[in-house]
């Protein structure tokens, strides 16, 4: 089970969800934040010491005035790793979290043992349309995020209390802050992906329309030695829709990489 702890990183209070035993694994969440029930992340606690922070401005973490964009976030997370005295860790990032993992890794892979990118934002492939999760109605958003099951349940979990409703709004505002323009990407990122020299695995929901699977292939082409798996019956919220498949993809990849 994941427990909440709070850590102060140079004046910014960060809420961490942490649990499990094994090698440290940092889970970087996406634009939708971490909901109260994250079975995919919980499944990882069987094999790893899972650390899943609410990014600054998301969930119960402070919004730090100095952290405006993805570059600030990447540097902030390097500070967090120092503060937690973590190295040799695995990073798993979904959506904006995948983008953040890439931004950290192009700066340094020294503390990183392996990288897993799940329906990751960050790249921009010209001419490949992506659906806009900000402008659409709530009903359409659910259709974008989920292939089938689980959408209504997920939304209901945010409607369970006024506090959670506030966090839902807070998450949307924080996601806009970091990814509004250019939408969900850093156009210069692709020029620096050659710096990633750790085992990298790419996992994608076959029906993702927020970041279509063409992006998985583009990442694989640009990151040396990267492997890729596309999972059926899921979209952008793969880790919630297919929690067991997600956790076993991550665990098996890390096991393979260790050999």
């Amino acid at each position: 089970m994941l427990q909440h702890t709070e850590i102060d990183v140079r004046g910014c209070k960060l809420n961490l969800h942490r649990g499990g035993h094994g090698e440290p694994l940092l889970f970087l969440h996406g634009a939708q934040g971490l909901s109260d029930h994250e079975p995919g992340i919980e499944a990882l606690t069987a094999n790893f010491d899972v650390i899943a922070p609410d990014h600054p401005g998301f969930g119960k973490s402070d919004q730090c005035a100095a952290i405006d964009d993805i570059n600030d976030l990447a540097l902030f997370y390097l500070d967090l790793l120092d503060a937690l005295e973590l190295d040799q860790l695995h990073i798993v990032g979904q959506c904006i979290g995948g983008w953040l993992a890439l931004e950290i890794a192009i700066r340094t892979t020294a503390p990183i043992k392996s990288l897993v990118l799940v329906n990751s934002a960050g790249l921009r492939i010209k001419g490949v349309p992506r659906a806009d999760m900000f402008v659409c109605s709530e009903a359409d958003l659910l259709k974008l995020l989920f292939a089938a099951e689980g959408a209504a349940e997920w939304l209901a979990s945010w409607r369970a209390s006024p506090d959670l409703e506030d966090i839902y709004d807070r998450n949307r505002a924080a996601a806009a802050r970091y990814s509004w323009s250019p939408r969900l990407c850093n156009p210069k990122l692709e020029h620096w992906l050659h710096r990633i020299d750790v085992p990298t695995h790419i996992i994608w929901g076959e029906q993702d329309r927020v970041i279509p699977p063409a992006y998985a292939a583009a990442l694989k082409d640009r990151i040396a030695g990267a492997t890729m798996a596309t999972l059926p019956d899921c979209a952008h919220m793969l880790h919630i829709e297919q929690p067991q498949a997600f956790a076993s993809e991550v665990s098996q990849f890390i096991r393979r990489a260790a050999r």
Binding site: F134, V135, S137, D169, R172, A173, R177, W180, S181
Partner: protein, 395 residues
């Protein structure tokens, strides 16, 4: 009281069946719906209407900014203000407003406003707004920084208008090595700044600050909100800042339609005013309030408010009943404004006399009737007729 005519310059030739296919007349409505030949006719007609109002003795004519939509065809109100500046002689030209903070380079707007102020010999009023949520989709500006950029763009522009240049501007969002405006504005220290809003305590507190004392303009609101927010401005000045706000600092903006009788006014305005609210102002919640655009507290209020009214289509009867529009015979309309003035004391009134599909002939009739039957009585109103807060307490 100063009376302004306000124009949105809508694309009134819009095929209204668009609503069967598209969720908004903004952002996502394809511009293939826009016919440039119709656009040519409309722009010239609308400019004629504003010029007519100036001739008829309105104190000011005003335009505003919206992007990528059919509701208002003025992505650059500066262009319209420039066109009007040489065709009018005495009327104030009010840009209400320009969203300086949507620009990466607000100084371009500061320059253009200074030019218009010089051309007109100091007739410009500069409204400063954040732009509605939809503009943040259309122009790509990040809504999460909207408030901060609004304040900083304001500071930059006021400094550019007032401080001897060249100087460096070192902000969080804007950075310029050389701020040195040529031309400087005609009015000293700078053109009057107005803050139009549909009701925001943050905006009121900002506008009422003693270092600014900007005109707060309440737009598009039910009568009870007009009362609440205009009074809040006065209260805010008194309680928060310790001064008595002048009635010149307060304004109300509303659609108005006048005809010979109440019944005729209702009948003539009905299809057009309902089109304005139900078709051209069709904006889903997500477009109106992109994430980060409102503070957490304001968003929460807005959500509960919207849930209670969602799905509600306006009719002219509900619009009149709630006081969102003023519509009726000259006697009815005059009395309504005089009563409102006795209650609230606003010294600026902006009337939207053309709306949505209201055609040329009815618009001209509306402008002329308003100018002859209502305006003279209102222009004579001063603080003597304002009953003050005491009247409200008694009522």
């Amino acid at each position: 009281m100063k009376i302004f005519i306000f124009h949105l310059m809508p694309y009134s030739d819009l095929d209204m069946s668009y609503a069967d296919k598209y969720r908004a007349a903004w952002v996502v409505l394809p511009n293939s719906y826009f016919d440039p030949k119709k656009g040519h006719e409309l722009y010239n007609r609308y400019l004629d209407e504003l010029e007519l109002a100036a001739e008829l003795g309105f104190d000011g004519i005003s335009v505003n900014e919206h992007h990528q939509n059919a509701y208002g065809l003025m992505p650059s109100p500066v262009v319209m203000a420039a066109a009007l500046s040489r065709r009018t002689r005495n009327a104030r030209i009010a840009i209400l407003g320009n969203a300086f903070c949507l620009r990466e380079h607000p100084l371009t707007l500061a320059e253009e406003h200074a030019m218009i102020d010089c051309i007109t010999g100091g007739r410009l009023i500069s409204g400063m707004v954040r732009g509605i949520g939809a503009e943040y989709y259309s122009l790509g500006a990040n809504p999460a920084f909207s408030h901060a950029r609004f304040q900083e763009a304001h500071d930059l522009v006021v400094q550019a208008w007032t401080r001897p240049g060249p100087f460096a501007f070192e902000g969080e969002h804007y950075h310029f090595e050389y701020v040195n405006l040529w031309p400087r504005p005609y009015q000293q220290p700078h053109p009057p700044i107005w803050a139009p809003s549909t009701g925001s305590t943050e905006t009121i507190e900002w506008a009422a600050h003693p270092s600014r004392r900007y005109v707060y303009l309440q737009a598009y609101s039910p009568a009870q909100s007009v009362v609440r927010y205009l009074n809040y401005y006065r209260e805010c000045a008194r309680r928060m800042y310790g001064y008595t706000a002048s009635s010149d600092q307060i304004g109300w903006s509303t659609p108005v339609y006048v005809a010979d009788t109440d019944e005729k006014a209702r009948q003539e305005a009905k299809p057009h005013i309902e089109c304005l609210f139900n078709r051209l102002l069709r904006l889903p919640f997500e477009m109106l309030f992109p994430p980060g655009y409102l503070s957490a507290k304001s968003l929460k209020n807005m959500r509960s408010h919207k849930r209670s009214v969602s799905g509600q289509e306006h009719t002219i009867d509900t619009l009149i009943e709630q006081g969102i529009i003023v519509c009726g015979s000259p006697d009815t309309v005059r009395k309504q404004f005089m009563d409102a003035h006795r209650l609230l004391g606003f010294q600026n009134l902006l009337c939207l006399l053309q709306f949505a599909t209201l055609p040329r002939d009815l618009t001209e009739k509306n402008i002329r009737l308003f100018a002859s039957e209502i305006m003279p009585a209102l222009q004579g109103l001063t603080d003597k007729e304002y009953g003050g807060m005491a009247v409200q307490a008694a009522e």
